[in-house]
Symmetry: D4
Subunit: 250 residues, 8 copies
């Protein structure tokens, strides 16, 4: 039941076409269900310009195709994350304009939003094997309306590489810092930066890195304030949150 | 070596008072050390208006007194966190204007910053026993220049309490959501809100909550994007990060 | 806004005292907030005969006193769980009829409900040190309207003790089985019983029982179907759930 | 030794065909062994109408075929769980009436029991990838004599979807709530429902969900009473327990 | 119902004082319950010469006193383990002949059994802080009828100490090897000995020994066959099992 | 240097063919190295009748072939454990008399030892999927000189099956009890038996059994004394230890 | 900006071609960035004679080829670690002099450094399956300028093998001790040796060795001082650290 | 049996005072036992100049006093670690020259060794609460013959502090780097230094630092080679190992 229907109901009451008792009964059933759908719209409204996202892992090609086909072509870009080349092909059958970002494992359907902040989102990685997660964050942030600066392979074992590029850190509106193994990079960046740092642990590593637990704990225990952590390998979540932060006050 | 000294050295070179070789040798030793101190100032500059913070747990009363006494009285407020009543007394001996927030376990020295954003920082807790952590976040955010709205005891076992106060969520510039036990609240708030959610797991709980591990994992695995996590019981870190986000673009 | 108020609003619309636009505007704001309170009542209605419960651990004596004083004396019994003797004294100041069950660590305020099922709730423990958790479950179930049969210290290391009392298992409408250390008892009872088994791991134990993790895992891995697990030491939860099951179909 | 044989022995004693000493000796050896078998029958009796179940994972096709062939065709339906299509084919060779439920990974041999309760078992999932576990629970409950209502993909990140379907929750005799990742759904449903909630964590997820540990801990720590937990991915166990609860008092 | 009663029942049948139907009915109810008690006796019989044991931790002084007073003074020695000096005093009030072994934290009531094997039980510890656990094992083994040889503080960091006393290892009928920290001693002893090695991890240690988990894992992973592990700090269990092994074939 | 050589050296000293200084020098170098080999022999002597064992997992076919070929054909049987059919074929090329036990994954080279104890080793499993581990234990025990009685699929969910076969437990000289999932069987058997119980957790299971951690913890926490635990899936270790125990006093 | 450029700038200042202000401005920007590169050179200088290392796992063949091609052929040997045979082939296309060490999984490009210490690096393993990790350490140490002595398969279950070769331990300048499963070897070697012991846990094992956690904990808890631990399976790290220690004071 | 006694035995053989058989018998028993003691001496010899150490935690005052009194006053300094003020007093009763280092919790008995290397041992901490562990390492290293340079509170959240003191890192012969919480400091120092880095995790911290597990994992996963880890809080072990490394080649 939408606003239109509520209005009609009220007019029926005013016109005597509906009794007060009937109206009360209808309205009692309304709240959660219909407001539920109402809120959905409100939310979509609030988030205008943001991307829809589909997590592809664990969905069949058929299911993904169906979801893409059912989405309205309303100008809001769609991100299909964790997408294999096969997923990309299937999506391109339905939406030939879809673009596949292979390293990021993302298919983008529709036109990315225009950058809304003068500050870029800076994305740093400790190693080269963290790049797929970084690209997932980067493509997400770009599609949602941010300029992105990439600073890859600046891990703490060679701290001079990071220190040689402090400008990038200082320019950024928000930082995404990605690391596996010892996960120490966000702590150092947090100590150097004046803006929020989103730390992303990666499952890259061997030995006692335990598929991301070691860098996750390191990041949670960061001695620098201003550092928050998202799930292991969650590049999409980092890019999404970075957008929310970077668009603040706009 | 500061800028003044570099200038003097260069003039000595120009004047022939110093050879190029001598100057090269001096400059080779310079970078990290002196720039180190230089950067320190820059940072303080960048963060002007932010609070200094002293983590009191594990420090002796004597040490805390010494640190407080040594801080410049430059208008920047100082937060002494995890402070017992004894710590508060000792600080008040040195700085009689210090104010003790007992539930938050924080001593504030100096005048809190003026709110700089029209949006409040909203702080939600699942239960009443999460309130000390919430107050640590609240006092931190207030001292660093934010208005704070508190919405306590709105845990998911009685979801109607949360739904009855959606306005608070919608007004906020950033949300801090604090929960122990099942840690489910940030997921729901993340699904309702359009601004960043900082999730804080608390060590409150019993049985298999394992001093905060259970809600920590819940929060990291939140199905709602836009949720980031800080360390268990880390109210200060949440308040600090919330400030960085809430002051973005200002 | 309750039903009465909705009715008045509708009549105002019918009478022309309120415009449709005004009414729509009022109704749009209503749903979550007021329905929130409405649902609360509905729930209380549905659960009539059930107990209110206050978890005392981590609350101050002052807080507990305040909560008890604020509760309506409407015949619904109140359980104050994890209550120390001091808590009991404080409650008895406000409600002199309160009864303290020391082993169960529960204060009962008000009159327990009458048993509603012909089947008792049977509560078994593996050892004697599991008895406090068992009594928490037992008092909870009794107050909420069940007869309780206790069968304590029938652990698997002396299986003959259990087998000597099969009648109790067969009579019960639902079983609560409590064990620490190896946590094996629910598996065996689950294999013998035809009714649901609620397994409660306890933190009783030493060595590699890890404060209840060992029996918790044992119970989750029970090879007998019909066994569900609640949190470590959660006697109240077990008693509550047992009541819901035992009152089914009544 | 069955009742018949005991009777014969006693008559032999009465007739003097057997001495008291001989009879004592025979009876001393009897109890556990023969009563063992006796109990087996009793149990089967008690559970009449319930299904037999075979867990197929880790059994060879040959073994499964043998077990199915050996089962009496006595009207009690048989559930072969975790069955691959190959398992289904093998079973259908022996019992051509067997039906394969592919998503549930269950083969049902024989006729499902008639629904015995007016209340349905309601099964909710947080996401679409939880559906295989949900279907395992659903088919189990249906075969054991329940109507099932499915409410899939109503996770907490979009709480309006759940709130839009409260009727299903209110109609149910018992609820099975299935979730991976943050595992928060059972807490919310537990707060809304007046009947028992069986929570099933799933191994669906990535990052720090650790193959189901994260939602398992969330569910064990649920702040809502009336929630019990079964093993990770254990749809069969949930369906079985739901039946025991839903048939209570019938 | 004991053998005597079965005999009487059978004679009543033979005499016609009881019908066959009545006897069947009585016997049907008998097995588990009464055989339960019967088995208890049988077991006691089988274990004649073994000690009764009471685990004192978590029992009140009153409870312990009651249990001791209720035990028959039948020559079987009683071990009260994890006993504080207060426990010892209380026991000595009831049984003045009780002896308190302070380091072992055991009170022995009654006369220890005579050694039954020519081979001693050899007990080795890695460090001096493992001695309380070792003494618990030693006193248990002595009371249950074994000679004990102690070889303490022969940890692997000074392997020469162990190698200097190989005779003890070679003489023993069974070995109990106790270690905290790295828990490496049982592996080496297992490689040198031809008899079973019972490994006992202790919670002694600091850093990453995690209250006994580190040595527990070491011992479970021992590369030497013939090593079995009991619970952390479980000296009693080790002494009991050592007796069972040392008395084999006697 | 063997005893013969020491004797020759001493005679050379006595005959003046070697100086004391030369002999001292030779003897100084001797101890560890040569006694090393001497001990090896001594050990082999002590363990005469025991089997050699080769753990095949992680070794190449070439390596296994080489080891088998290098072993002396001295009547001592050799066990190649964790052997695939390919391993069996390779061994049979070198030793055509080798026998492959497929379920046990063991190749036996040479003639098993004669049973040396009148008591069998009884091997119990909770489920059918524990059988490979049980067979590894059984073949090991048989080859090392024991009669073995198998009692499979007697898990605690159907306790009557176990109680129906108490004779096996009572006849045994030592018990090996194997279980995955809840791992509860050894606790019950330990309560019924008067001889040592070797508990073997298996990695069989799903959900929260965590590849054997759950049953491992259950077994370590067994409330029945006389239970010791070996590594997860370590059938060979259990069979070896059972032999050491069963041959005690012979 | 390198030293040459600084010199030119200073000469421009001296010659009046550049103003002091301009020079200050240039120098202000210099430190981190350019000194960054400067330090890199310095470091390379300090480490002259050390090897460059490329971790191949997780890099594409194309990436590895590119890195190798880009490295200067300056006499410093290059180690490509965790290299498959395919990686070796690709490297040999670019650098035909590359040598593949298959067991060590290392490709060495360029000429190994000459041994610089009279003491060898001794590398011990507990088992044969630890050899790949040992060879990674051995080849690393050899290429970086050490003689290596190998002592494999001297685990604690047969301590005589280790004691038979004490000379190797005494000759060494530093020891690398590698073990899986119980990880006990470094403790014993640490007790015998007077030089540093680098302990390397391996993921070799089964059951409760948990992919290296068990030996890792054992080694961290080593009772012998002078033992330090590197990551699980980290042969390269051990070889590198051993070189740093063995070249100390040279 | 020492060399002297072997010589006498051989002369007895030569003189005919002892038969060859008698000598063989005596020599057979000798190796392990007496070589054991012999090796002890050898070791003491090799380690001359090193300190004896007594770990006081878990020892009674009486025991510590006894050990100190029994030690020879041979110029080798003695370290009593984890010593409370009470322990210090007791030791000073026996050895009035004993010096108590309160922060380090060490009592030093006897004269520290002279520094033997021109390079200092540099000890860095991330925070001020790591200082007790650092001082334990520092006093150990000083007593064992090293100059120590302390660089405290240079954690990664303020990287400029570390970079401002690079000289200390470059001068050192070996580095001990101590950190709790995120444990990131050793990774950065390892990237800057050319000498071995001994990383010490501390149990200082809160939230998800888990009493040192978080920094321990960080350090094990350090991306910089040349970093090895000792146990949590193990300052003594770090100081001991640093000495072994710093004295290499001297």
């Amino acid at each position: 039941m939408n606003e239109e229907q509520i209005r009609e109901l009220l007019e029926a009451v005013r016109n005597g076409e509906s009794s007060v008792a009937e109206a009360v009964s209808l309205l009692r059933k309304l709240p959660f269900k219909d407001i539920g759908f109402a809120r959905l719209d409100t939310h979509r409204q609030l988030r205008r310009g943001f991307a829809e996202a589909i997590y592809c892992e664990g969905k069949t090609l058929e299911q993904i195709k169906g979801i893409i086909a059912a989405l309205p072509d309303d100008g809001v870009p769609v991100l299909a994350t964790r997408a294999t080349p096969e997923v990309a092909q299937v999506i391109q059958q339905v939406r030939p304009d879809a673009v596949y970002h292979e390293t990021a494992r993302i298919v983008v359907v529709g036109k990315p939003a225009e950058p809304r902040s003068e500050h870029p989102v800076a994305i740093l990685t400790a190693g080269t094997s963290d790049i797929p997660v970084a690209e997932e964050a980067a493509v997400t942030a770009e599609v949602m309306g941010n300029r992105v600066e990439r600073l890859y392979d600046v891990g703490v074992a060679g701290i001079h590489r990071l220190l040689g590029d402090l400008d990038t850190i200082e320019r950024a509106g928000v930082l995404i810092v990605i690391a596996g193994m010892d996960g120490a990079l966000p702590s150092i960046v947090g100590g150097l930066a004046a803006v929020p740092v989103i730390a992303v642990p990666t499952s890259v590593g061997y030995g006692a890195s335990f598929a991301g637990i070691a860098p996750l704990l390191t990041m949670l225990n960061s001695c620098a304030p201003g550092v928050a952590v998202v799930n292991i390998d969650n590049g999409f979540g980092a890019g999404y949150l970075a957008t929310q932060i970077n668009h603040r006050g706009l």
